[in-house]
Symmetry: C2
Subunit: 124 residues, 2 copies
């Protein structure tokens, strides 16, 4: 089995908006043994579709999709699951798993709380 | 001087989307001595305007606004600074400071990287 992890951000036509996601992906690539891709749900490239197709072409058998979203709204509860299902049918040799958004991960909430607490503490 | 911290999320008509932000604000309120408010940039209540007006009415002199965004796109580089400036003029007794988005905070990026690395590590 060859695995991969896809970080999926919302997407924007604004390169300023994309820059922090690209920095995060670069930093993580250095730390992880699992191959990592950054993809965007909409608006800008690389799309989730193109990313999944590229992984399938590289012989990856299993990919997890981690949404870099604070919360699951309509996109993550409706549009994206349908898109992932269609991609799974288009690439039956590649097993896709859509994870809950990173913002719902307890460790993320804890880390965010620590960042905010530190920020607030600067003025105590 | 009485201070406050405003956590500003994007906003959505979807209560599922708002729930993680509300949980975060609740958890943080218990940990911080600084009064904390959760406000939304658009779409849903409480708005940033209403929140700032309420803080001014309570006699708060200084409030920091921390955007709960991964990255600063057009909203945070154009719309929100203009809105904060207008609110500052409307409430001259309350000094408002717009902070960079939490996603650009180095500790946040590090925490996110740790969450993703742990997630990826589950399959090593």
């Amino acid at each position: 089995m060859q695995d991969a992890l896809i970080l999926m951000a919302h997407g924007s036509s604004d390169p300023h908006w994309r820059a922090p996601f690209e920095r995060l992906a670069e930093r993580l690539s250095e730390r992880l043994s699992t191959p990592l891709r950054l993809a965007y749900m909409e608006i800008c490239a690389p799309s989730l579709e193109a990313t999944v197709a590229a992984l399938a072409a590289e012989g990856v058998n299993r990919a997890e999709i981690l949404p870099l979203f604070f919360a699951a709204g309509r996109h993550l509860r409706q549009d994206v699951p349908a898109q992932v299902e269609a991609l799974g049918e288009a690439h039956p040799e590649l097993q896709l798993t859509l994870l809950p958004p990173v913002g719902e991960h307890p460790a993320f909430v804890e880390a965010l709380a620590a960042v905010v607490a530190e920020r607030a503490g600067e003025h105590d």
